[in-house]
């Protein structure tokens, strides 16, 4: 396996001008990973800024609808800024400063990574530009306002599908132009090496905490760990610590959109073949010629035609399994958690809930499920309210 690969997946498929920046990043992050000063600073931010460790919450009234076993949520939604994304961003912002760069840029789909990046930039005094597909700026308008209030410039990308994929294209164009003083903080476990490995490492704290917490609570390991998979960062974050626990099933839930037959979905593992997009070899929704296909999902954060290379690897070697939840199943699961537990999840995370309902019913009342609740749903109120017909459309 060459460096930076997970089996055949990953690699560094980038324009040559970016290679020195990737080499610098790799060197700096490897040094930081063993530098007590860096680790202490990150730990302090986790504790005093993000609010780590995030708690776990057992949800029996929800579990009653999911096969009647026990269901435990890892509450990344309670992190400062409202999702797991902050774990990665704070670390990359620290690295940005270590590399002597003064500007940080990012793509965002749901807006959570954008908000987290804008937050870290405000905290550390960095200039910040966020690229977001135009479609996503409309469906996640609240987060656009948050980023702007935090002082970031938000660029609405009007090419292609006007979603996450196109935001990444535009961020890469910015980076190749301004790489001297700019760090591109990729928001998930995709992109050229070292991003998939580095971003996973910045999120693995989720699984480290959760494993201990669920052992404390229940005295045993869960039967399955379940997370939604867009690029796959929250899933890799919670999976990683459990990979060696061979009896724990790792289950990723992709966006089934309007159903596989409709062609309007982001269930890469249901239909895709390996290919290269945005610097990495991984499963990719593409046509016969290798042109990228447009994905679709009710949730902007899962609306991406490729997936992190480590997930492709875990799937091919059989260590993780992937299923999908349609928009409709997701919205039902979303409502169920709201009504039974008083927790409003992000639509991305609601995919994991929908997957858990199925898995719980398959496993029955003895099951113990751990779900990564990757984010909170405030940003999705508009989508949810119109889905359930809760707002009168006024003009």
């Amino acid at each position: 396996m060459t460096t930076g690969r997970f089996g055949m997946f990953g690699g560094r498929y980038v324009p040559e001008p970016l290679v020195p920046a990737l080499e610098q990043l790799d060197e700096v992050r490897q040094k930081a990973a063993v530098d007590p000063e860096f680790l202490a600073e990150l730990e302090r931010l986790h504790r005093t800024y993000t609010g780590r460790p995030s708690i776990i919450t057992e949800v029996p009234r929800f579990a009653a609808h999911a096969g009647g076993g026990r269901v435990v949520l890892k509450r990344e939604d309670l992190n400062h800024t409202g999702s797991h994304k902050i774990n990665n961003v704070l670390a990359q912002a620290l690295l940005t400063k270590r590399m002597g760069k003064r500007r940080i840029i990012a793509e965002t789909g749901a807006g959570q990574h954008g908000v987290a990046t804008a937050t870290a930039a405000a905290l550390m005094g960095l200039d910040c530009t966020i690229y977001m597909g135009k479609v996503d700026t409309e469906r996640q308008a609240l987060n656009v306002a948050r980023m702007k209030i935090l002082g970031a410039e938000v660029v609405a990308v009007e090419h292609g599908s006007q979603t996450l994929k196109d935001a990444i294209n535009e961020a890469l164009r910015d980076w190749v132009t301004n790489v001297d003083d700019t760090h591109y903080a990729i928001g998930t476990v995709t992109g050229p090496y070292p991003f998939p490995e580095m971003v996973r490492d910045f999120h693995k704290i989720i699984g480290i905490e959760a494993r201990e917490q669920i052992l404390d609570l229940t005295g045993r390991l869960p039967d399955a760990v379940i997370a939604c998979v867009g690029g796959g960062s929250n899933a890799m974050g919670i999976f990683h610590r459990f990979i060696e626990d061979a009896d724990v099933r790792l289950i990723g839930v992709e966006a089934g959109g309007e159903g596989i037959e409709s062609g309007r979905h982001a269930a890469r593992f249901a239909v895709a073949q390996p290919g290269v997009l945005h610097g990495a070899m991984s499963y990719l929704m593409q046509d016969e010629d290798g042109q990228t296909l447009e994905s679709h999902s009710v949730s902007a954060g899962l609306d991406y035609p490729s997936v992190g290379p480590e997930h492709s690897y875990l799937r091919d070697v059989g260590r993780a399994e992937y299923r999908h939840a349609t928009d409709e199943q997701t919205m039902e699961a979303f409502r169920l958690l709201c009504r039974t537990e008083g927790i409003i999840p992000a639509l991305e995370s609601a995919h994991a809930l929908a997957g858990a309902i199925e898995v719980g019913r398959e496993l029955g009342p003895d099951a113990l499920l751990l779900i990564n609740l990757s984010g909170r749903g405030d940003k999705d109120m508009h989508t949810a309210a119109s889905w359930f017909g809760l707002i009168e459309e006024t003009s």
Partner: protein, 268 residues
């Protein structure tokens, strides 16, 4: 095998001038016009044609090329169309180099793509998002078929990278002489000449420069220090907002201006 880029660059060098290398994407503004346009390039003094393969996610292209490529894809351009274009360019008398993002080659199969390209008179591939580190399969396919492989160097390239990249190239080296995406630029910066001399320090291969040249004067300026002057966005733009016929006329005129620019030669 028919003449390769090395011979053409050698001939230009013997004439005391840089080569003119023109880029146009297949299928823009439509397939037929795009092929006629590439032939027009050759007829008006272009020495090597870069045949662009439209791709859905052209991350190192600026607005002009993005617009052209999106139109080509919307018009139904397929990967196989590139081979019609290379045949036409070859028949017109210039070596065609295909410029493509890597997934299109991967998807077709590297060996199959190489065989088809060679059979269609192609001279080789320019690969903007494939670095030598990831190119083992392409290295062996190009060895087997005798195709040229052109990788990029950039102002950010360290001496180690320059050595690594140029060692992997065959035919020539592509110096992307400004940091950023493709697009017309108003001036030729000092960085370009510096990159060329740093590249020459590690290789004997010809070094061709792309940096957004759009006029004969700029072509002369770059041709004074580079072995080849690569022009893309300016050529593509001749087809914006005009009929194909008008576009071909504008393209012919611009190509002649650029060819006259490189013909001014260089002080040796």
């Amino acid at each position: 095998m028919s003449v390769g880029t090395a011979q053409v660059l050698e001939r230009c060098r013997a004439e005391g001038r840089a080569a003119l290398i023109g880029y146009l994407p297949v299928g823009f503004p439509d397939l037929e016009t795009s092929i006629a346009a590439m032939v027009t390039l050759v007829e008006n003094g272009c020495d090597i044609v870069e045949v662009g393969l439209p791709y859905s996610d052209p991350v190192i292209d600026g607005p002009a090329n993005q617009r052209a490529v999106a139109q080509a894809l919307a018009g139904g351009t397929r990967v196989a169309d590139v081979f019609d274009a290379t045949r036409a360019v070859r028949a017109a008398g210039a070596p065609p180099m295909v410029m493509t993002y890597w997934n299109l080659v991967l998807r077709r199969g590297i060996d199959r793509f190489a065989d088809e390209l060679r059979d269609a008179g192609g001279a080789g591939l320019i690969t903007p998002d494939l670095i030598p580190d990831e190119a083992a399969d392409w290295m062996s396919a190009s060895e087997r078929t005798g195709l040229d492989r052109v990788f990029l160097v950039a102002p950010s390239s360290t001496p180690e990278r320059l050595a690594r990249v140029t060692e992997a190239c065959r035919g020539f080296v592509y110096a992307a002489a400004v940091m950023g995406v493709t697009g017309v630029r108003s001036s030729v910066g000092a960085a370009a000449e510096d990159l060329v001399s740093r590249t020459r320090a590690v290789t004997d291969l010809p070094v061709c420069v792309g940096l957004g040249v759009s006029t004969g004067a700029q072509a002369a300026q770059v041709g004074a220090f580079a072995d080849g002057v690569i022009v893309g966005s300016a050529l593509v733009s001749t087809f914006f907002d005009v009929t194909p016929r008008e576009g071909l006329d504008k393209l012919g005129a611009l190509t002649r201006e650029l060819a006259a620019g490189v013909a001014e030669g260089r002080a040796r």
